[in-house]
Assembly symmetry: C2
Homo-oligomer: 273 residues x 2
């Protein structure tokens, strides 16, 4: 497994792989890897001949009062996990930005719904860093987690609208035994918070249950479901999986997405009906 | 000379050239070509093995009251000129956008000075379409006209900040015998307006003259120079050539840039001291 720090070396590695007609898949991460990330790596290995994983905690996607500094980091352990997972190259840039960067990708109105309401500027930061990574890593395929549903919709739209020519793939949400969606931030939950955290998913499951029982009216079902999570619910909503606009009537394929706060930690989760 | 309409074919053409280890240069244009464009093609031929020119009047960089519809077009003549100039491929997409595009490149505060004051949204449109073209054409080098000085600064910054990995080159302003900077829009000047148009450059030359005589204080020199143009001056200013922020003291390398309106036509020009 090659560990690459410089952007130019990363691009050269990818050019060399392409010169050998290898398909390159890319899994961008912020590190502190868990089974969710590793499932994306396994998916990437199925889709490509070469797998590149990046580890970079991107400062521009954190708000001023968010957890950039306290975001968990453990590079040694991450590298060990990636080596075992059969990754071909790990890209660990020291810094992706020049002095006072000003150019950004603006994802448009879709950035302002769901998580975007609570995190102004977050998706500009995400879209911009992912565009930069795609430019440097030059993958044929990029793999993201479905847990960050809005992120995937925005990035997929960016890739289509800007003609970036990368195949975008989302891997399913990976959960703990009690249903909690895996997240690097789970490590920052207290014992009590951790025991309350699966209630977010239980809320989502109650919507699925209602849907399976034939209920289609979103409003009442969501209202009841949103009472289940044990934290401060930020949103609990059913939206069109492409536009992220709220729907009144649930259908197959409707995205039910929720976010809640437990102490200092913000948790998100979603299901697709 | 290959004429390419589909994005996928354009990318494939470029991939094939790269597979043969050819350097690809790209000259994006809005057509209605003049000697300025052809000088960029000649420059591109010096810098690369293969030259691609695009012809596309990009709607998103025109304001609602601007001249998108009346922008001059003559594809037949353009193709004849490019063939004679030894261009290898011409990319003439029918439409570069999907339905209701929302993702844009936001160039940051630098888009709001100079031409950006009169043309809100213009440089977002320019940056976005150029990013799209760079993604589709995948050139090693891209060549732009120095006449659009702010455009070049913004695009160069975009390429650096977003790690697009394209070498950016500006070709010098090409002028008519009487000094008027060549522009496709000159064709829309009435005979009288055409006779007045070179006054913009004369104003710029008076600044150069003052500078050569040892004057360094920008304000008085610019004020006098701005009285020379025979149209409605929109701006006449001396700025840092990288940041586009106004300077008080003229130096070698200072950009002196001006814009004026003559009837329905907006003319821009600049010199570097």
């Amino acid at each position: 497994m090659k560990i690459i720090v410089a952007k130019a070396r990363m691009s050269a590695w990818s050019d060399a792989a392409h010169a050998q007609r290898k398909i390159v898949a890319f899994v961008p991460t912020m590190g502190y890897l868990h089974q969710g990330h590793l499932s994306l790596v396994r998916l990437a290995r199925k889709l490509a001949d070469r797998v590149v994983v990046s580890i970079y905690v991107n400062p521009t996607q954190f708000g001023p009062r968010e957890d950039f500094k306290s975001y968990p980091r453990d590079l040694k352990r991450d590298l060990r996990l990636l080596r075992s997972a059969g990754v071909h190259a790990v890209f660990v840039p020291k810094n992706m930005y020049g002095n006072r960067p000003e150019v950004q990708v603006d994802p448009g109105p879709i950035q302002n719904v769901l998580c975007g309401r609570e995190r102004p500027g977050h998706f500009r930061g995400v879209a911009t860093i992912v565009l930069k990574f795609l430019s440097v890593v030059k993958p044929d395929v990029a793999v993201f987690g479905q847990k960050d549903a809005q992120q995937f919709v925005i990035l997929n739209r960016m890739v289509q609208e800007l003609d970036l020519g990368v195949k975008m793939v989302a891997g399913p949400v990976i959960r703990e035994k009690d249903g909690l969606a895996m997240s690097s931030r789970n490590a920052r939950l207290s014992e009590r918070e951790r025991s309350l955290a699966p209630s977010l998913y239980r809320g989502l499951l109650s919507v699925r249950k209602g849907f399976k029982q034939g209920r289609r009216e979103a409003l009442a079902l969501l209202k009841a479901a949103a009472k289940i999570p044990a934290g401060k619910v930020e949103y609990f909503t059913a939206v069109d999986s492409q536009t992220l606009m709220p729907v009144r009537t649930l259908r197959r394929g409707t995205l039910v997405a929720a976010a809640m706060r437990l102490g200092k930690v913000r948790l998100i989760d979603n299901i697709i009906l």
